[in-house]
């Protein structure tokens, strides 16, 4: 499996990196996911099409990423429905900037699932509501 490239599982999975900290949200269930510092960088790599094997052996803090550790992390991402295998997709190169960030991490690979906002988020059937003419077209400071 370490040869595999992965893709974000569906359009319901949205994510963003806040100062290197990844937050992933499943809009269909309202569950959201938080990561350790190294987990955030590995999510960023995998969700952008970097092959799993390109991450094995990379420096993460004071150690290197082991295959078994990465496999178990990816298994969780698959189980949570955040990623799917994308066998025929060409792998993307991992950027030097991301590798440098990964090297600067201090926590082991970890992803946590949270459902405390789920009932509040799923009540908003986003895809059924056309953009209102008013909000959320709030003027942005540009």
């Amino acid at each position: 499996m370490q040869q595999l490239v992965y893709a974000v599982a569906s359009k319901d999975i949205v994510f963003e990196s806040f100062d290197g900290e990844a937050v992933v949200l499943d809009l269909s269930t309202g569950k959201y996911f938080g990561f350790s510092d190294s987990g955030s960088r590995v999510w960023e790599a995998l969700s952008s099409g970097v092959a799993a094997h390109a991450l094995v052996g990379q420096t993460a803090g004071t150690s290197t990423i082991r295959l078994a550790e990465l496999e178990s992390f990816i298994a969780q991402l698959l189980e949570f429905g955040l990623l799917v295998p994308a066998a025929d997709t060409p792998a993307q190169p991992i950027s030097g900037a991301l590798l440098a960030e990964l090297a600067g991490t201090s926590e082991p690979l970890k992803v946590d699932i949270h459902d405390d906002l789920a009932d509040l988020i799923v009540v908003d059937p986003i895809h059924e509501v056309e953009e209102p003419r008013g909000w959320p077209a709030v003027k942005q400071a540009s």
């Binding site: 949200l25 986003i126 509501v129």
Partner: protein
């Protein structure tokens, strides 16, 4: 005096505000005060409101977002209960009456929400449409002091989700928020709305709200350890 007042944050809602306000004044228990907070509208909403000849206070602010406008409106009110409503949604006539009755029955309840169902902007209401729990501004009624305890409604940078954030903060403070099973609020859906277009700025707001929830949790862990 009924003891409640209403806050309607509004941005360019000239086409819907009249119907929304009529659903407020049609309540079986009348509000003491109605405040519309114009969040920097560029349409003729103010003229529409004035032409209605209803007892409505119109406050104005520079465009800052629905959370900010709601907070501004609540700050201008002093009744024991406050109900909020989006400028395009509607209340059914007994909505407030049912909520006030719930508050009377359960003295410890901090806020009461209702189920809601969608209605199409261009079609009559369909009472058989599915109702869902409306954890939203348009169904919310709270005790005034709850707002002071939880604090302002904060608009996530560049996105929606301000009510999710506020309700989550209220829950984390241990406040009891109840949901009435009856659909007493109607949510307006615009024509041609089944386009499945994703709104990236709204998604970003939700992600920000999730991040804030995780940060609060981490902070609480640190404080309690």
């Amino acid at each position: 005096m009924s003891g409640y007042s209403v806050v309607i944050p509004a941005f360019n809602a000239a086409t819907t505000i009249a119907e929304t306000l009529r659903s407020v004044v049609a309540q079986s228990i009348k509000p003491d005060d109605i405040v519309v907070v114009d969040d920097g509208s560029t349409d003729d909403m103010a003229a529409v409101i004035n032409a209605l000849d209803l007892k409505v206070r119109l406050l104005r602010q520079e465009n800052a977002g629905p959370g900010s406008a709601t907070t501004r409106g609540i700050a201008a009110l002093s009744t024991p209960f406050i109900a909020t409503l989006d400028a395009d949604d509607l209340w059914l006539p007994t909505k407030i009456e049912e909520q006030l009755a719930h508050f009377r029955r359960f003295a410890q309840v901090a806020g009461v929400f209702t189920h809601w169902r969608n209605f199409r902007h261009d079609r009559p209401d369909a009472p058989d449409a599915g109702a869902v729990p409306g954890w939203s501004r348009s169904t919310m009624m709270i005790r005034r002091e709850v707002f002071d305890a939880v604090g302002p409604i904060v608009d996530p940078p560049g996105g929606r989700g301000e009510m999710i954030d506020w309700i989550a903060r209220a829950r984390e403070a241990g406040l009891a928020l109840d949901m009435l099973d009856e659909a007493l609020t109607l949510r307006r859906i615009r024509p041609g709305s089944l386009s499945y277009g994703r709104d990236a700025t709204r998604d970003r707001g939700y992600l920000e709200v999730a991040r804030l929830a995780m940060q609060r949790r981490a902070r609480n862990r640190t404080e309690s350890s």
